[in-house]
Symmetry: D3
Subunit: 228 residues, 6 copies
């Protein structure tokens, strides 16, 4: 239970990480059985933000960003910082200086269940960040925490080395050992969706080709011509 | 009380619907006596989104979008889907596939007191959507609901066939039978506002031409030169 | 305790106000000891909004914007309206007409712990506004209030004449008499940050040059190579 | 659309109103197809509060209780006041004086999508109240509204004369014309639940007698002995 | 701006403090022009809690209760601790040990815009506490703050030595120098209310004796006999 | 990833479970390094509720309680149900019938990150429940889920078999393998607190015996006699 920084973590294969990022949050979330999604209050700092990478997890005291500094040292290029606090906070724990430091170490993005600041700079740098809040509220460096232990971030459990995917729809966590299987399942899903899209574009109804017309009847729904 | 899908609804005149859309949410809301506005948590998926059309109402189980599929079949070109859930939900009940299907059937927009996903696609398609949340959370198709019954959406009562107007300021509902009268009243209001705008631009004070100076005095407000 | 409108307020020097605006919210907030920040729910109507100016404070009944009209008369060019309500409200108390009037009188921005509307117009006019909500909900002009008394706005105490700084990170209040000292301290901070940024860009770690490595050790944090 | 006070409303039969009150919110809500429930933020001022009666609806400006005074005059003994505001408010619009007045006129309870005060007095009087908030915030009597028009209260549509049932579980609205049918259906449900309760008390599983064991298997759920 | 502990504060007269406590929150709030009320999320830990006393203000880092310890030393018998945090927090910063210490020093209650714990003990001790949350979340003693400076607590500005009144309806702040005048005005109000209560009990209508019937007519409200 | 019900789980020793329950949430949370606490929105249905037991975890679709029925079968006497939903819900997924069934199977309590109903019955039965909401909203039995897999409940990670402790201060999770050590550490803490309580009762200051006076000085805090 003592505050600890774990230096090395296992990571998924780079190919799977890249593939998951290309597939996007909604498709990946569906492909892994609708699990792993963070709460919808996690929003990107700029709309075009996209990321995929290996989670380096950070657990901080509220209003204290000391452990983010400690975490940067143990990151490898391609990692994503996943930051939580012991209790809820919206303080601006991360800004342009930390983003410059992250970029210098190859860190590709930040997921933080708290606040960030210097958002104009983060946008100008195109450093992708998902947070619960934008806040200039400054933080201290006073209380120890943890790096690379299992955390809960925005309602999702994250293990160090899990794959994080973020885009305009939010953030999803793929367990490291499932990364390949989920990427494959998601690609199949995408191909199938492409066919569905073509049929829907043609005016076919989901009601028909998902078999919902019969299902609704079986469930006792009735169709009437008008309200009277 | 049995789950029901109503196939045909009355609609307002196309001219009134178009006029209300051109007038915009704030003006229409004022013109009908400051009624009919949905709660301010309803936000457009992209800032330039604008819509006006006839409401096809949909009442779904939380986390279940089956009835949206059922609703598309009964829509006519120019309709707007107005979707609610039996209890509060932020799940992503609508995404790019459903938007493609909507567009194929002439549906011009979506108002949903829940979540949506694939927001980058919705923006690229310029399919206007107002929602309570953006969330990739997937949904099932398991529980029956209603199409084209009176609903409450984001705090506003909506009858099937009511006129829905949405823009950057939110969403307002105009009762179908009031559409013409409200459009006329709103146009008059707009003309009057144009004159007010010119006077304000010239430096005249609302304090004076709204008669507030006297009113404040009557209400006992005093003017003093400085705090002491 | 009687409703009162105070006509004249003291103001900080124009140079300090301008300097604080150039420095931005996060830097100014840090430079004055991490005080004076409004709650993070205060968001700009458009992302590029920036403002600095002298606070003219307005305390209104919820859903009633009469006192904003009264406040415009007592503003001087360069002032910022700071509007609160007696109890929480998200109503759209300010829109394009009031913005036109503000601009005619040289008012440079609005901070409102309530709602605004006509946001497309405000954006087109580039009139900077920070608010708790966007809402078309119309308001009345019925209940008296106060202009230029001390208020609490979005959790921050504001005195008439305090300097208000707003940007993408939120809104900060600088006590009028501290404006020069804070501007100076913030400029020093900025210069120091510039050096820090260069070192971080070079790959140096905050862990090292903030002395956190030793501190973490002193606090009992241990480094381990892997989770086992 | 002009502010209006409707003097007379239709009411359900006293027997049905009493029966629905005895059955309680959860049972009534189930018996009418899981519809009509107000949002769960509506809480009783004291835990033992229970009410059933005919809705007299009131639509007020936020922070303004003038229309509650107007509504009391048109109430009959056995009525329940159902109060909403044009936009969200938590102000204390109702306190012990209004409760004394209500009691003098035979009004049996209050449902208010806003705040109340003097809660110690309301409890001592055993006057049942469900509200969104407890707040001492005082209100004005300045802006007109409506009495006995259709309203939306805490997410539920209410027509004047609908039956309101409130208890520790919240508040449910029964459409006036359905009152008898719902009361009968609810009594049947209660009888059935009594049998279910006896079986569950004996250790039988809902899994078995609701037929869920087979359903789960059909839906692809698998049972395993342990996590490995 | 440097963290500071102020040892001595001015206080209102004991008689006025006692009188304000006897009058209660709603009456005091009305008597001082409907100002000074804290937000309604401030709730007593047990329903019968009542307090009045002189404010000793404390401004803490979120998740850090060190300054509460510092504040106890400078309190006099009859004081009320008023605790805020630099940014929003619900952590349990105060529990039974601190309550024991408070009682030993004659402190009569706690108002905290954060969380408390050991609520069963606080109730058993009858130590009155109003808080935003109940949370067992532990806190550190690491970051300096302020004692006896002006603070904003739950939306209300508090000066050291102001009179704090708390009961089931919430918490109100009376500026120290106004304590006598407000107590007198509140007593007059109470006497008047007593007469109003008697008339209302007799069935007289507020509509009549507040003159609202005429006012509603002047404002354009119409009475109709039924909805048709 | 397929929906699964795990029949058997490991459990902590009965003695440790009982001891942790006696110690209470705040003490246990502190003793395990301030970890494992659920969010403070989890509140007991009645104030005197207390529980400790082994977690049987349940993951349900929002608005669907089918998996709770499935979970009861695999519970042993002394277990506590820990229920979450795939996405946020306040629906009343648990009521008196399920409580009767739980009691018949020796289940000692319920922790649910959603809503419950029949709260008067639950209180009368003294069946301890912690929930996010009280809501009569009925649920379906349509969508499969999981029993006895790792879950996140109200922000805390829970493994099947972890020890759950609940009281008036909230809910804390103790990892199964840590149960003995945490119970021992908590008992030591309690003993120490007893001595602290005695000293505080005597008027000693935490400022002194926690060594905070020196620490504050070291951190640069200054004491002044009065505000000027």
């Amino acid at each position: 239970m003592k505050p600890t920084i774990v230096r090395t973590i296992p990571r998924a294969a780079a190919g799977a990480i890249r593939a998951l990022g290309d597939l996007g949050v909604a498709t990946v979330h569906e492909a892994q059985g609708r699990t792993g999604l963070m709460r919808p209050f996690m929003r990107p700092v700029y709309p075009a933000a996209r990321v995929s990478g290996s989670a380096v997890t950070v657990s901080c005291a509220p209003g204290d960003n000391m452990m983010i500094h400690a975490a940067i040292e143990v990151c490898a290029p391609g990692d994503v910082l996943v930051v939580t606090t012991f209790s809820e906070s919206t303080d601006g724990m991360f800004g342009d200086l930390l983003a410059v430091s992250c970029r210098a170490h190859g860190i590709v993005g930040l997921i933080i269940d708290a606040g960030v600041r210097d958002t104009a700079d983060l946008t100008a740098m195109a450093f992708p960040v998902w947070s619960k809040a934008v806040s200039a509220q400054g933080t201290v460096k006073a209380t120890p925490g943890w790096v690379n232990v299992p955390v809960v971030c925005a309602g999702a459990a994250v293990q160090p080395g899990d794959v994080i995917v973020g885009d305009a729809d939010g953030v999803v966590v793929v367990p490291r050992l499932d990364a390949d299987a989920v990427a494959t399942a998601a690609q199949e899903r995408l191909a199938k969706e492409e066919k569905t899209r073509a049929r829907l574009k043609n005016g076919e109804l989901g009601l028909d080709f998902y078999g919902l017309r019969q299902k609704l009847t079986d469930l006792g729904v009735r169709w009437v011509d008008s309200a009277e």
